[in-house]
């Protein structure tokens, strides 16, 4: 079944693309909440089964190596999220323009 309700969706912002971005962001926020809840379940089950306690999680202090691995992971993660910002700069540095892409189109079409 279609998951869209029949009826035109209103536009709220001056740029309708922002409407879509907000809906996408909220969907991602929702999925993060789902993941957080699942992790919480795992922690509580582990605690109930005596594997480790919630307190042990709070008191856990990463050693130097773990800290470094986490730092690296966060940097990679941020790079993935902010990919488009990096790409825009790289594109500007290389002097890419809409015209340069048009030129490429012409190039392969001849």
């Amino acid at each position: 079944m279609s998951r869209k309700a029949k009826g035109k969706r209103p536009v709220y912002f001056n740029d309708p693309e922002n409407d879509k971005l907000l809906a996408i962001t909220m969907a991602v926020a929702g999925e993060l909440s789902v993941l957080r809840e699942r992790l919480d379940t795992i922690e509580r089950l582990a605690s109930a089964k005596g594997l480790f306690s919630l307190n042990e999680i709070e008191e856990y202090r990463p050693d130097e190596q773990v800290s470094a691995e986490r730092e690296k992971w966060r940097a990679d993660y941020l790079e993935r999220i902010l990919r488009v910002v990096h790409h825009e700069l790289e594109s500007a540095e290389k002097g890419e323009t809409p015209e340069s892409y048009e030129n490429a189109l012409k190039l392969v079409s001849s």
Partner: protein, 384 residues
């Protein structure tokens, strides 16, 4: 699962499905409690003064407020979030229900013919006001069927209403029916209706309180949508309540003249049309016995309401696929009653406390926040 009563036909949710639904419910509560009140602040601080500068007078009605408020960035963000929360709610519930639709249909089939009755009429046309848009953004509306003997739309509705109301309609989503019953028990103590009709019953949330309040009465409930009625009947059986469900349009039913001592509806009228609401009121007049009454529970009328409150209450007209909402709440209900054959002296329009809110003393909160009679229902009463 959460605060909703897990009767046999209620769809079950996996860990992630429930977490997804929990998020939507939290989002709605947060928007209502923490974001929406800011709309009043920006209205008072910048929107209203801007209107006054432009027009040399304060906003007179909800249209004046709408004209300026819809371009305010704070309102735009709240409104976009509110719409998104509504779409996420249906999405989170319908994906969960679709996963189990075969099992739910089988369960509903097993509950058939056990108590009360279910009479469907596949030849009944879908009213144009249900075909035009999917009301309150439920994909597929009340009527779409995905298989034979389908209950999907009803199952989605049962679960989603609980999330939509943020749990504040009680474990059985029965607050509107319970609030009308509380009104009747207080005001008409000796009233013993022999036959009761609930119009536009959907899954029977508000029907069941009448079965409990008047155990001697024969209770009928009608709706235009077959998947709602199949689910409603299975749900009533699962909860041990006897109701006779039939697929009929409240504008024109097959019940004989003067059949009922009490006719009720719960947020039915605003999901119809100008023409249909007149037909429904005339049909009520035809079906009521002498000395009997009809009570339609709704959200309040706009007349006499603060322009800002009316504007906020009218959000659904433009943003939640409720095209008739605003028109109905502007109507002169006294005149409508008189035109439908009722004596003017029998008409009452009154706010009654929500039975659930009274019992639990919860915070008053509508979707848009605390305004315009949150924690209360509007009753439109007519007598014959």
């Amino acid at each position: 699962m959460d605060g909703q009563l897990e009767h046999d036909i209620l769809p079950r949710a996996t860990q992630d499905e429930l977490a997804r639904q929990n998020f939507v419910q939290s989002l709605k509560t947060y928007l209502a409690g923490e974001i929406s009140p800011g709309n009043k602040v920006v209205y008072e601080k910048r929107v209203k003064p801007a209107f006054e500068r432009q027009h040399g007078r304060p906003p007179r009605d909800r249209r004046d407020v709408r004209q300026m408020m819809t371009s305010d960035p704070y309102y735009q963000m709240w409104s976009a979030l509110q719409r998104t929360s509504q779409e996420m709610m249906w999405d989170a519930v319908s994906t969960s229900v679709e996963r189990q639709l075969e099992e739910l249909a089988r369960k509903a089939g097993g509950l058939k013919r056990k108590l009360g009755s279910l009479t469907l009429d596949p030849s009944l046309p879908l009213p144009p006001y249900h075909a035009a848009v999917d009301i309150h953004c439920q994909p597929g509306g009340y009527h779409t069927e995905l298989r034979k003997e389908d209950v999907t739309a009803g199952a989605i509705y049962d679960r989603a209403v609980y999330i939509y109301a943020m749990g504040r309609m009680g474990a059985l989503n029965d607050d509107m029916g319970a609030s009308v019953v509380a009104y009747l028990k207080k005001k008409y103590q000796g009233f013993r209706p022999a036959k009761i009709l609930d119009m536009g019953c959907s899954v029977g949330h508000s029907t069941l309180p009448y079965v409990d309040a008047y155990p001697e009465a024969e209770v009928h409930a009608i709706d235009v949508a077959a998947p709602m009625l199949r689910y409603a009947h299975a749900r009533a059986v699962a909860l041990g309540r006897q109701v006779h469900f039939s697929q009929q349009n409240a504008e024109s039913t097959n019940f004989p003249d003067e059949s009922f001592d009490l006719i009720v509806s719960h947020i039915l009228l605003h999901e119809t049309s100008g023409k249909a609401v007149r037909n429904i009121m005339r049909e009520c007049h035809r079906l009521l016995r002498k000395g009997a009454m009809a009570i339609h529970a709704e959200v309040p009328q706009y007349a006499g309401m603060d322009p800002y409150d009316a504007f906020m209450l009218d959000w659904d007209t433009y943003n939640n696929n409720e095209p008739f909402w605003g028109y109905l709440h502007d109507m002169d209900l006294r005149q409508l009653a008189v035109e439908s054959g009722f004596d003017e002296t029998t008409v009452a329009q009154t706010m009654v406390p929500s039975a659930f809110e009274q019992a639990k003393a919860r915070t008053r909160l509508l979707q848009g926040g605390d305004f315009a009679g949150a924690g209360q229902w509007f009753l439109y009463v007519v007598g014959k």
